[in-house]
Symmetry: C2
Subunit: 299 residues, 2 copies
Amino acid sequence: MITPAFDAWVRDELVRVEQALSRWVPAEAPAGLGEAMRYGVLDGGKRLRPLLVRAACEAVAGDLAAALRAAVAVELIHAYSLVHDDMPCMDNDVLRRGKPTVHVQFGEAGAMLAGDAMQALAFEVLTPEDLPDEVMAPQLQARLCGLLARAAGHAGMAGGQAIDLAATGKPLDEACLRDMHRRKTGALLQASVLMGAATGPCDPACWSALSDFGAALGLAFQIVDDILDVTQASDKLGKTAGKDLHANKPTYVTVLGLPEARRQATALHQQALQALARGQLADAGHLRLLADMVVDRDS
Amino acid sequence: MITPAFDAWVRDELVRVEQALSRWVPAEAPAGLGEAMRYGVLDGGKRLRPLLVRAACEAVAGDLAAALRAAVAVELIHAYSLVHDDMPCMDNDVLRRGKPTVHVQFGEAGAMLAGDAMQALAFEVLTPEDLPDEVMAPQLQARLCGLLARAAGHAGMAGGQAIDLAATGKPLDEACLRDMHRRKTGALLQASVLMGAATGPCDPACWSALSDFGAALGLAFQIVDDILDVTQASDKLGKTAGKDLHANKPTYVTVLGLPEARRQATALHQQALQALARGQLADAGHLRLLADMVVDRDS
């Protein structure tokens, strides 16, 4: 159950993440590039991935400053993927987080470059040049870069988007749909949890529990997204509702129907909580409440 | 002077780099993504950046296996930038390395995703999961990720491309043109040298010498590129000749004229060699010959 204390934690974390994004996404990048990058990532979004990083860091009593860098990096990857995904050659969407999309505002070339630079920036943030090794160990920097690159790349998010692209207008069975969602959305959500876990002590059993938690949560998130796409209006979502349906894309709702999609979201929610309980974690409270939030959200 | 021994070294290195690219750029990535990535990076290109990484590694008697990963990573970043740069919203080019460009072959969305996944893959290659720390130290992994991310991002290549985009059809003075070229092409060439240097022992004086060498060489490379764009035919270049001129883009030739552009390329060549001589390097022979090759090339 979502509590006032959890609400307060989320509010505080969002302020911290927003300040860090604003500090590290450069206003001074040349020829409008910085402006487009900032437009693409500041002032919007639920920041679920940063919250997961920070909550997982708490769960292992990890290094919160390193987790803040990881949170910013993962949000930059997420935001760049939205910038590219909205472009005319992909989903051709004009509304995102209640604002015109980046290519509408800055042109297609500007949006492509901003996305490219945001991906690079994620790895810059994870490898601070100006901090002594004691503050953020190079071992941790390398670990975080590896986790993020694998979640973002061909085996993760980019691979999922390629499947998505190829699947438009085609029937997809449940196994293929699950594979697509696991990569497209699940990989980065799972990586958020694991990047948080990497900032502290986490034995193989704990790592495996958090990995399973992240995987179940990631898939649950995307199924709920599919459900909201058909049950909510655009103004509530801050993006164009019903767009998967209109684009003739397979979703959990079109493939399995609304009741079965809801049933699976609930089952995955339970799986996530069970995995968490297995982890013998220092403090899994916020991770648990984030899982509740993901499944119970209405936007 | 280019010697037969240098030619043989280049041939051997190209085989090694090509094999490594082929091994690490995944054929099995889903929905044609792997095919597009491989098309975009295999079987073509001069591989100047990988050669610089490997030669700089030799110069500091560094770790050649780590340098091979760095070489592949930097070439992936270069290749992704070409894939995106060729797209209709950017340069709209149909010919690259003598073949149809990636978006002609795989569609715009396919090209965008392939480029995105290639950037992520660069950081995957630098952070091997399956190697023990003794084989590639996490400190080195983090260092290489940081150097590459900064060269690729807003302060480097992506920033330079944003300036390039904004400069089309506008007069640019020499200082702005130099700044654009330093970022757009120079940053990644300089990073190639420094990534090679990072694989071995390199004191601050040696680092500074190699950094200056890379900066001079990087700018010389782009000036020579500007010269070849107006003096060579497309079939020789393997890409569309005269395109900067037709696109009304400022270049060293349009801003300074051909004789002055040639004079500056020669001066930078000398600067690069002088920096190298300062470095007290174990074996700078191949770096020196690569500098000659960059300036004396005809394609």
